[in-house]
Amino acid sequence: MLRLATRAMGTRFELVLGCEDGPQARAAGEAALERIEQCDARYSVFTNSSLIARANRDACEKPVRLDPELYGLLERCLALRAETDGAFDIAIGPLMRALGFRGQRIDAPRGSNLGAFELDRATSSVRFTRPDTQLDLGSIAKGHALDLAAATLRENGIESALLHGGTSSVVALGAPPDADSWRVRIGPDGTWEARLRDSALSVSAPHGRTADFAGHKVGHILDPRSGRPVPLGLRAAVIAPSAEAADAWSTAALVLRARGGSLELRRPHDQGWLLEDEGREPLLLGQHGCFAPHAGLEPTYR
């Protein structure tokens, strides 16, 4: 096994390659880490020269040209916003700043924050349709970077690897040598175990990062429609074919749960969901065997 790591997106990304250490494997691992570092430089709202910062600066006044990679990501973000009924939305920059999660606090934007940007495929550009729009890829950038890193590993002949960003977004390539899947314990007490093979896991919990707002402790996940933070006791783990989808849907799952209503209708068929709410029975949705209680009891899937 070979372990490599880098610091990016305000956290630590780590790769474990299921092969012997050697110049080739190390070079492949470094190429994957470099993809992650590039994503950080391109998508961080904290870096002035990032593509997202450029868009946030200028897209109110004029269309801003994007490179094909970011354009594609924004297109998928728009699709995800529609699929999640607005529970996932990257146009939440002002709301995040109003709650105190992105540097200097600002006043909360007035009214709805939906429908704030549009894309033009012909010119590969983004334009903001509301003056106070700011994009924030915080709920999808780690997953996107991990998918690109995993693709880089595959291109370079690596068939077995586990990659994670800050332990909350995970991608599994194949399985570890001598096992049928990568097993990842979830939560502070590790009650649950996710089983991954050519799939990705994302765990979202509002208490992962908090801020003080008007005398209350609030979590960093909020409903884009209402601007209201999701209750702190919730936690969602989502297994999906890509880390990008897992990231977006684990955020959306929390928001949808907080809104109430049926989750089964919303969940894409190729995903497994585990939802925990303090003091209530855990809810398991989707494909059997995605999640298992670590202590050995068989879970009940709906």
């Binding site: 110049p23 470099e34 020269s49 600066r57 801003v64 490179d67």
Partner: protein
């Protein structure tokens, strides 16, 4: 370039009090380019070529229409990045089949630059060539001679010359803010194998040309020449001798190029530039320092700072300047777009350039080619720093001092 005089840098706040910020001009930060989009081909789409494609895609005045690489998987991967991109396996085929292309960007391995650059210049293209320009003095001379004989633009990739923060810092330097120079220092430290994964042993050797001492200028040339060029640009002169040492400290994987080097370049007046590069440790990354009697300038790609001595003359505007603390020292940040940001009360958000250093280099080339202007980094500028890099690499390999003939540099 912005001159650091009060008139240009003064910003009157609403209350009438004047604050001076260390700001490059708006035009430098957000270049506007006249004319129809420039059609561009990128030759070499490895790591640097892909970064170039990414930046060119965001410049509306440039339109990348073709890419070229001898490695098919790289070529296919580059062609997937945009619709309608045409791909070629060799520059000869590209030039033959794409006569309408106005400009090319060359980002191949250094030792392949000469043949490609000469062919592109002969075909009447505007050329942006990555740096160092070549791995031998003869090849460097051949490129410069061809570029000088061309009616088109030839720009090179030493980015310190087009970077607005560097230009701003240089204007302070030229205005004598540092007074008597004491020392120059630069480093590039990053923990990495510097190796590119290859699918076969043969392909691995080709991709990792920079680890082969016969083809590569090593850390001194491939990385050091970029940072030494910053000193050449600021001082307007070059060192007369260079000493160096190098060792493989960590990456004992068959490479013949040192993974850790030290250089000392000496200027005619005794001023010295020390340089270190390593692939074993990442502490403090990459920066250049220019130290003097009254202040020290620190430059790091998208950021720049000025650390003033306690006895340096204080000007009124300094009270308003944005500062950052470094251990025991406080540096004035060289802020992009400071006047506009100050008006919005967002000065601290302006630390760091609004675009990458590579973007400015490419935008400068596109502007020069579109408007028929001289580029920020000319063939001669780049050739001289390339030769200093070649000789610095010789010093590292031999472990002894190598003289740098001023007449040789002057002839380029």
């Amino acid at each position: 370039m912005t001159s650091p005089d009060r008139r240009q840098l003064l910003h009157a706040s609403a209350g009438g009090a004047a604050a001076l910020f260390l700001a490059p001009s708006f035009e430098l930060l957000h270049p506007t380019i006249l004319g129809a989009p420039l059609t561009v081909a990128v030759i070499g789409v490895g790591r640097q070529g892909r970064a170039i494609l990414g930046e060119l895609a965001t410049i509306p005045e440039a339109s990348v229409v073709a890419v070229c690489d001898s490695d098919d998987s790289r070529l296919q991967s580059a062609m997937r990045r945009a619709q309608g991109l045409r791909g070629y396996a060799s520059h000869i085929e590209l030039l033959d089949k794409e006569p309408g292309i106005a400009a090319v960007v060359i980002a191949t391995p250094t030792h392949l630059h000469k043949e490609i650059a000469l062919a592109c210049i002969a075909a009447g293209k505007h050329v942006f060539c990555e740096t160092p320009l070549a791995h031998t003095i003869d090849d460097t001379r051949a490129i410069v001679t061809a570029a000088k004989g061309s009616s088109k633009v030839f720009a090179a990739g030493y980015q310190g010359r087009s970077n607005p923060v560097y230009s701003l810092a240089r204007s302070f330097f030229k205005a004598g803010t540092l007074r008597q120079l004491s020392h120059l220092r630069a480093q590039d430290h990053k923990k990495t194998t510097w190796r590119t994964p290859g699918s076969t042993p043969e392909r691995d050797r080709e991709l990792n040309w920079h680890l082969d001492a016969e083809l590569s200028l090593g850390l001194a040339g491939e990385k050091g020449s970029h940072q030494l060029d910053v000193f050449h640009h600021f001082l307007g002169r070059h060192p007369v001798a260079v000493r160096g040492t190098g060792e493989i400290r960590l990456h004992k994987d068959g490479r013949t190029v040192a993974d850790t080097i030290l250089l000392e370049a000496r200027f005619e007046d005794g001023l010295r530039a020390s340089y270190s590069a390593t692939l074993c440790n990442s502490y403090e990354g990459r920066y250049e320092l220019i130290g003097g009697e009254m202040a020290l300038i620190k430059l790091g790609w998208t950021h720049g700072w000025m650390f003033k001595e306690a006895d340096a003359p204080t000007q009124g505007w300094e009270v308003y300047a944005n500062r950052q603390q470094y251990h025991n020292d406080s540096g004035i940040t060289l802020i992009a777009d400071a006047t506009k940001l100050a008006a919005q009360g967002k000065l601290t958000e302006g630390v760091g350039l609004p675009y990458t250093s590579l973007y400015y280099a490419l935008a400068d080339f596109v502007k020069a080619a579109s408007e028929g202007k001289a580029p920020a980094c000319s063939a001669s500028d780049a050739a001289r720093s390339t030769v200093v890099g070649i000789l610095a690499n010789q010093a590292v390999r031999s472990g002894s001092e190598v003289a740098i003939d001023p007449a040789l540099l002057e002839s380029l």
